[in-house]
Subunit: 249 residues, 2 copies
């Protein structure tokens, strides 16, 4: 398997390139709009054919480049099954593996950060999106997020994977790149150790986080599989608009 | 590939089991004397045949179980090439890969913690022994250790591996299990970022670490490929002697 962990600084998002060495077929997990050119250059330099873009959920902090990649490469858009939008070509659903050449990608339903969130398992790697971050987790106060649900997702589903499973998160804000299920069980201050569901509920209720600055643009844009709002305020230009010009130019 | 990261609490040592799924052939990197029974049970439960035990260096904090595994399973002992001892069956040397079924293990000469230290690369994983720890490194004040040499080992050799290479250390004392070359380049406070060789030399010269409590027993025991000293003080029994009785009984 060919594998690359790619980083988008503005939203601290990790995009993952997964490809089959034998067939050259590839998928991107959580590709980000301003990084289309970079991702495309890597795909081309490795001689790959992009089959799928796969989103873990409807993001609130960046615009997916799913639609843009479809236009540029003909790749198919895979979104969580219950997403309230008509644009995806395929819906991720647990029990229905995706094949990228000889590489199998297993969707795992992992709600709690949002109500329609999937992690993707590839061999001994799990791409956890915002359900489980390294020593953290996604917030649960928007998009039908729910702390009790996220607790069960992580403790009952993700923590039941083999201990050596590599955890690749959707974001990191401190230059951490990878963890393992064993490590998160031991070290995650919100969800590891003996933390109870009541304690987790309290932790999440008391985070006192600011209203996400880009959410009102990102969610509708992502429900269209990655469209930059036409009325985007200038201060958010770098989230998508400038790059659109760069690629189109 | 079959892979297990195993932990020995007394010396906070990670032992790695690597095996070929097709042939069932296996190797252990840095197996530890008191964990022989556990390791053997895992090997048996997976139906594996142990070909090799591979030590990254002559350890100062625990006794290797290389010799014990040879007695129990017929496995061959692999030690660094210049080790001052006659007991190894094979010597690790850079440029001479080891094959465990279809799995290739590449020795990388990584001196500095000791003068005869090897890391082992398996695909996109590097088993760094004590040359590079997660956000740390092995001390350089014993066994012909040398800070300048270790700096070059890490910065010029290990950090030139692809960024996504997974770093599996020989020890961790804070329940961290895995890192990546990119992560260590960014986060390692001793060797990452813009740290110069002069700064690293100063850091290592000022660690003020205690004399290693077990070194005077461990080094001679390991130079015999894993022999528990007969004159072991009672306080060190758990480092090897008790387990010997347990297995023999």
């Amino acid at each position: 398997m060919i594998f690359r962990q790619l980083y988008e600084e503005l939203s601290s998002t990790y995009t993952y390139l997964i490809a089959c060495e034998e067939t050259g077929q590839a998928a991107l997990i959580d590709p980000v709009y301003p990084s289309v050119e970079r991702d495309l250059a890597i795909i081309r330099s490795l001689g790959l054919k992009l089959l799928y873009t796969i989103d873990t959920h409807i993001h609130a902090d960046h615009i997916t480049s799913a639609k843009r990649f479809k236009e540029l490469t003909g790749s198919q858009i895979i979104f969580p099954v219950a997403s309230q939008c008509d644009c995806p070509d395929l819906r991720a659903e647990e029990g229905r593996p995706l094949n990228v050449g000889g590489v199998t990608i297993d969707p795992l339903y992992t709600p709690g950060h949002t109500d329609d969130h999937y992690a993707y398992r590839v061999g001994d790697r799990i791409f956890t999106g915002d359900a489980l971050l390294i020593e953290g987790c996604g917030r649960t106060d928007f998009q039908n997020g729910d702390s009790d649900t996220l607790y069960k997702t992580v403790r009952e589903k993700l923590f039941s994977l083999p201990d050596d499973t590599l955890v690749y998160p959707g974001h990191d804000y401190q230059n951490r790149h990878v963890s393992s299920i064993a490590q998160e069980k031991q070290r995650n201050p919100r969800l590891g150790g003996t933390t109870t569901i009541e304690e987790f509920r309290q932790i999440m209720a008391n985070l006192n986080l600011a209203y996400p600055k880009f959410i009102d643009h990102a969610v509708p844009g992502n429900q269209l599989c990655g469209v930059c709002p036409t009325d985007l305020p200038t201060k958010f230009n770098e989230y998508c608009a400038e790059m659109t010009e760069s690629i189109q130019g």
